[in-house]
């Protein structure tokens, strides 16, 4: 069982809210699988299948094949812009 907090930054937060709790009844899950599960649960979350939406686990930007453990912080974020 994996319990996660998933948060959203940028434009996607307008559609998906700032944060969601998720539970997976498995022992391992990848970032890509989290995207897919969110898109399955919620039509608005299909935007997460766009590769421009990047992900971080415990504040480290990762690829879709990165594994996520229970209790870790997952962030999905839209394109960034400073300055």
């Amino acid at each position: 069982m994996i319990r996660l907090s998933v948060s959203f930054y940028g434009e996607i937060a307008d559609r998906l809210g700032r944060e969601r709790a998720m539970v997976f009844a498995v022992d391992d899950v990848t970032v890509g699988e989290i995207r897919a599960e969110l898109a399955r649960q919620d039509e608005a979350a299909t935007i997460l299948l766009n590769p421009q939406i990047r992900a971080a686990v415990d504040a480290v930007v990762v690829d879709d094949d990165a594994g996520v453990r229970s209790g870790q912080d997952v962030v999905f974020f839209s394109i960034v812009s400073g300055g």
């Binding site: 937060a13 307008d14 504040a59 960034v80 812009s81 400073g82 300055g83």
Partner: protein
């Protein structure tokens, strides 16, 4: 060499930052600064009442440090400073202040230019502007991406 990167959630006084950066500096002849200001109109000419920069509690500050360090490593500069606002910003207020000191004028210009190009496309902020016509998210422009692409990694 000192590299300083700060996320500022209150105000940002560019004049005071420059004065502090210059203070006691007698080994470097050249200091280039860039100040980015919130504009009263968006790219399409519509009035902007408020700019909001969302930030992540860990990744945003770290991205500023990474970019400032990369600038210091790439150019012949002695000190690099970046101060970046997060939160709500009114038109005319400073969003970002960058300063670079070097013994060489050209290196100082290059370094500040480079740091700004990277901040525009890589600093971890999410920028939202709103006005009487509603709100929209701001992403780097094609020009910002072309500017970034001038510098090979």
């Amino acid at each position: 060499m000192a590299v300083e990167a700060r996320l500022e959630t209150g105000g940002l006084d560019a004049g005071a930052e420059l004065a502090a950066f210059l203070s006691g500096r007698d080994a470097d002849g050249a200091v280039v600064s860039f100040t980015g200001l919130a504009r009263g109109r968006g790219a399409d000419g519509a009035a902007v009442e408020r700019l909001r920069l969302d930030w992540h509690p860990v990744m945003t500050a770290r991205s500023l440090s990474v970019l400032a360090e990369a600038t210091a490593a790439r150019f012949d500069v002695s000190d690099v400073l970046v101060v970046h606002r997060g939160g709500e910003i009114a038109p005319g207020e400073t969003i970002v202040f960058v300063a670079v000191a070097s013994p060489h004028r050209r290196q100082a210009f290059f370094a500040a230019d480079y740091l700004m190009d990277r901040l525009k496309t890589e600093a971890m902020f999410w920028k939202h502007e709103s006005g009487p016509d509603g709100g929209r998210w701001i992403e780097p422009t094609e020009r910002d991406r072309a500017d970034r692409a001038r510098w090979s990694d």
